[in-house]
């Protein structure tokens, strides 16, 4: 593992609103190809943390580096150009365009063609857009209007858009929120496969513990703005403090999980 380079390094991230410390001294690292989950109860500071990582919020102090380059306080569009893709809790796509055009816009931006007033976009990176759509299993829907898609498909399209700049790091805010159970599993399997194949690091927040424990290589637990635990799924599940604060002591979860594992 030590040969794998550090992709994302966060040091002492801190943000407060008035007297409330939303995030306090959060530090962690993420390696290429690793899938890292950020969990915690509501109000733990997950979203604040996430927004600082992708540039929508500026930290009071602390440093964020992606592949050694400082991204702290930079705008989302700048961070994207440094190789960070992102998906939103409520999928953000371009509803008045076709599925293929959605991906083409991201490719146009990646190719620095945004101020090209003359070329035809339809021919721009058509095949590459098709390849990305095939990758997420949306190839057959390329010419469909995005506004007509089922929500699960919109999520997959959003993933294709996020992959358009060949990111090194993918930030996914509650990737399976609002999806049917079967779709959740499909989307996370897909994400995990792509991450492994292209050795992309993935950081995601999630409330669905089935998703977290099945797909995360490592888990960070946030409570009241500070990291209270960090480790493999087994370590986190066994952590008494995490159980007390977040997971609860119920036997149901363990039982169901064991059942699932044996099936």
């Amino acid at each position: 593992m030590s040969m794998v380079p550090t992709l994302l390094s966060v040091e002492g991230l801190t943000k407060s609103y008035g007297g409330v410390h939303a995030v306090r001294g959060v530090s962690f690292e993420l390696r290429a190809g690793e899938i890292l989950a950020l969990i915690g109860p509501n109000g733990a500071g997950k979203s604040t943390c996430f927004d600082m990582l992708n540039g929508q919020n500026i930290p009071d102090s602390g440093r964020i580096r992606v592949l050694g380059a400082e991204t702290t306080g930079k705008k989302p569009r700048v961070i994207w150009r440094m190789g960070v893709g992102r998906t939103f809790q409520i999928a953000a796509t371009f509803p008045t365009m076709t599925v293929r055009e959605n991906v083409q816009v991201a490719l146009v931006s990646h190719g620095q063609q945004l101020f090209n007033l003359w070329a035809s976009t339809a021919r721009h990176a058509r095949d590459e857009a098709g390849r990305l759509l095939d990758l997420v299993g949306m190839g057959a829907y390329a010419e469909r209007p995005c506004g007509e898609l089922a929500y699960g498909d919109v999520k997959r399209l959003e993933l294709a858009i996020a992959l358009a700049n060949q990111p090194k790091l993918l930030l996914m805010d509650e990737p399976t929120a609002g999806m049917a159970p079967r779709e959740r599993v499909e989307l996370m399997r897909l994400t995990a496969r792509i991450a492994r194949e292209q050795s992309i690091g993935v950081l995601f927040t999630e409330h669905d513990m089935d998703v977290v424990f099945e797909h995360a290589d490592r888990i960070l637990v946030l409570n009241r703005g500070t990291l209270i635990a960090e480790g493999s799924p087994e370590e986190v599940r066994g952590n008494a403090q995490v159980r007390a604060i977040y997971l609860g002591e119920g036997l149901l979860y363990d039982a169901r999980h064991r059942e699932g594992a044996s099936a």
Binding site: H110, Q113, L117, S120, P145
Partner: protein, 630 residues
């Protein structure tokens, strides 16, 4: 010193009416999220009705009773308007609401002339406040003192109404989250209606109280609505305190602006507004709005370039249009040139508004700048026509670059109001800077050179440039830039997250649209042989909006069709009736309510439905996928 005190008090007195109208607009916006363009019309109606009543009934009771009854009568009219018209468009995109209420304004302007005649009406003085008070040798009308007291009193009454009554609590709740209020079982229909009635009552009262100070006339609606927009933008839409403070600020700026900068008194206010908007885009007392839930569009059909056949058809239409000089007389050719010029103007606004999602209510500014650019170059520098046509629109470009930079910092109704205000700045410069622009008299004698002077030649020139403008803008729509612009419109969040600098893209689009509008204005100057401040007036901006709307906001080529139909119709209307505004306003309201997709949009929807029903056998799989979504 005493003089300045009196000037200050005059400003305070003017603030009272302005505050009444602005608070009404603010209250209505807070709850219904409609920016009621017709608010000025209700203000004007209040003044006219009060004039009639105070003339009919004598004595103090007749006067004061007349003023209150006038406001009540107009409020009743407002209720009618709300129930018949606004209830149908609460869920329409905000652009449609602005347009519908503007249509109302146009209708009221003609109705008022029809009922009360075109002349200014001077009402009687207020009983009990006829005299003036001596203040160190300066006279202060006692009615002004009454108004100075009235403003804070109304503010206090409104405050009590909103803080101490159950109705007021509901209104405040609805201002914060109307969906939640509806979910709690409040009858929203009547809440909206009563709020609208109160807002209109305040506007009409503001108008009625102006009788002893100013003559009543049929242009007072637009003058007040521009000032009120400025007030609510500075104070913050939805804030009553903000409306009060801003009304005082604006009135004082007006009162002292005339002393300090007599030439540019109007500009001072707009400059202050621009500064406020840049520092606090939500106004001094407003709250930053949560990113608006995107109003779902009318259709989701993705745009596509013309097919080979459609391209041939377009060329065929162009050839037919080019053959017009062989069959038509000079008058028809002049009309044809004007239509071609307005096609250019309409497609330039369409580019900004449909492709960019930025509905400008002051697009005429750039049209007018292009026209003045040509006039100044031709008359002062004496440059040849070709050079003027190429350089004139650059004035539109410069204007769009300066104003557009500020305007794209905002969106939605704030963008609409700011562009309107900028257009008024440009208009006032043209109007007041007499030594350069000729003021109200305009610049005359801007005639085309010999090669373009004959109606047929000028028609061909206009048609050719129009075709070129349409083609170039279409190419840009489907270029990477066009997609980036649409992406920014569709989802600012996603476009930023894929590296698109939305503001810069929108600014560029604003400059492109302004330049093309300037080109239209440049041709227009040569067509008419003159330029006037009205070439950049509000009504011209609205003409352009209506053209785009009529053709279909959500189509690629609707503006072309809209411009042709609207321009032909309005030229014909003006020749047929004296009540062209009434008909036009009714027409606008009708489109918004019954026909929101416009001509081209409706046709496209019709074709789409036919294509779908013919291929429905092949798509059961797709429908099942969509059903499984929820």
């Amino acid at each position: 010193m005493a003089f300045y005190v009196v000037q200050f008090l005059t400003g305070l007195a003017s603030a009272a009416s302005l505050f009444l109208v602005a608070s009404g607009l603010s209250i209505i916006f807070g709850v219904t999220r409609i920016v009621n363009f017709a608010h000025g019309a209700f203000y004007m109606l209040g003044a006219y009705v009060a004039f009639t009543l105070t003339e009919r009934f004598s004595g103090a009771f007749g006067f004061w009773g007349g003023i209150v009854v006038a406001a009540l009568v107009v409020a009743a009219i407002g209720v009618l308007v709300e129930m018949v018209l606004l209830r149908r468009i609460y869920h329409s995109p905000e652009l449609f609401q602005l347009l519908a209420t503007f249509g109302l304004t146009l209708m009221v302007e003609d109705l008022v002339v029809l009922i009360w005649g075109p002349d200014d009406l001077v009402g009687r003085r207020a009983p009990g406040f006829k005299g003036a008070i001596d203040f160190f040798g300066q006279n202060i009308p006692s009615y002004d003192l009454f108004l100075i007291v009235l403003g804070p009193v109304v503010l206090g009454v409104l405050w009590l109404l909103f803080q101490r009554t159950r109705w007021g609590v509901l209104v405040r709740a609805a201002t914060q989250d109307r969906d939640m209020v509806a979910a709690l079982g409040v009858n929203q229909k009547w809440l909206f209606t009563s709020v609208f009635a109160l807002g209109v009552f305040l506007a009409a009262l503001g108008g009625a109280l102006q009788i002893p100070r100013d003559a009543v006339n049929h242009a007072m609606d637009l003058r007040v609505i521009v000032e009120v927009f400025v007030v609510v933008v500075i104070g913050g839409l939805g804030s009553i305190i903000g409306a009060f403070v801003a009304a005082v600020l604006v009135s004082e700026l007006n009162a002292f602006g005339i002393l300090i900068f007599p030439k540019i008194s109007i500009i001072l206010v707009f400059l202050v507004m621009a500064v406020v908007l840049i520092v606090r885009p939500w106004g001094l007392f407003g709250k930053p709005e949560a990113p608006a839930r995107r109003t779902p569009g009318l259709t989701v059909n993705p745009w596509r370039p013309l097919t080979a056949n459609e391209r041939l058809a377009a060329i065929a239409v162009l050839i037919v249009a080019a053959a017009l000089p062989f069959v038509a007389g000079n008058y028809l050719l002049t009309v044809g040139s004007e239509i071609a010029i307005f096609v250019i103007f309409a497609v330039s606004l369409h580019f900004l508004m449909s492709v960019g999602g930025l509905a400008s209510f002051g697009h005429a500014a750039y049209f007018g700048l292009g026209a003045y650019g040509v006039a100044l170059l031709a008359k002062m520098a004496g440059l040849p026509m070709i050079v003027c046509l190429l350089l004139g629109p650059l004035l539109g470009l410069v204007g769009a670059a300066v104003f557009g930079f500020f305007a794209v910092q905002l969106s939605g109704v704030y963008f609409a109001m700011l562009t309107l205000a900028f257009a008024q700045i440009v208009w006032s410069i043209a109007f007041q800077w007499v030594s350069v622009t000729g003021g109200d008299n305009g610049i005359l004698g801007v005639w085309p050179e010999k090669w373009a002077a004959s109606p047929s030649h000028f028609y061909w020139l206009s048609l050719g440039i129009a075709a070129l403008a349409v083609v170039i803008l279409r190419i840009i729509v489907f270029s990477p830039f066009g997609f980036a612009l649409r992406a920014t419109r569709d989802s600012p969040l996603r476009s930023e997250a894929v590296g698109i600098n939305g503001k810069r893209i929108q600014w560029t689009a604003f400059v492109i649209a302004g330049t093309v509008a300037g080109l239209a204005g440049a041709l227009f100057a040569y067509l008419k042989g003159s330029v006037f401040p009205d070439n950049m007036g509000i009504s011209l901006s609205v003409d352009a909006l209506v053209m785009v709307l009529l053709g279909g906001v959500e189509t690629v080529s609707g503006a072309v069709v809209g411009a042709i139909v609207y321009k032909a119709l309005s030229i014909w209307l003006v020749s047929q009736t004296d009540l062209s505004k009434l008909v036009l306003g009714g027409f606008v309201v009708l489109i918004v309510v019954a026909f929101p997709k416009g001509i081209v949009g409706t046709l496209e929807a019709f074709m789409h439905r036919r294509r779908k029903s013919s291929s429905s056998a092949s798509s059961p799989l797709l429908t099942s996928r969509i059903e499984s979504a929820e």
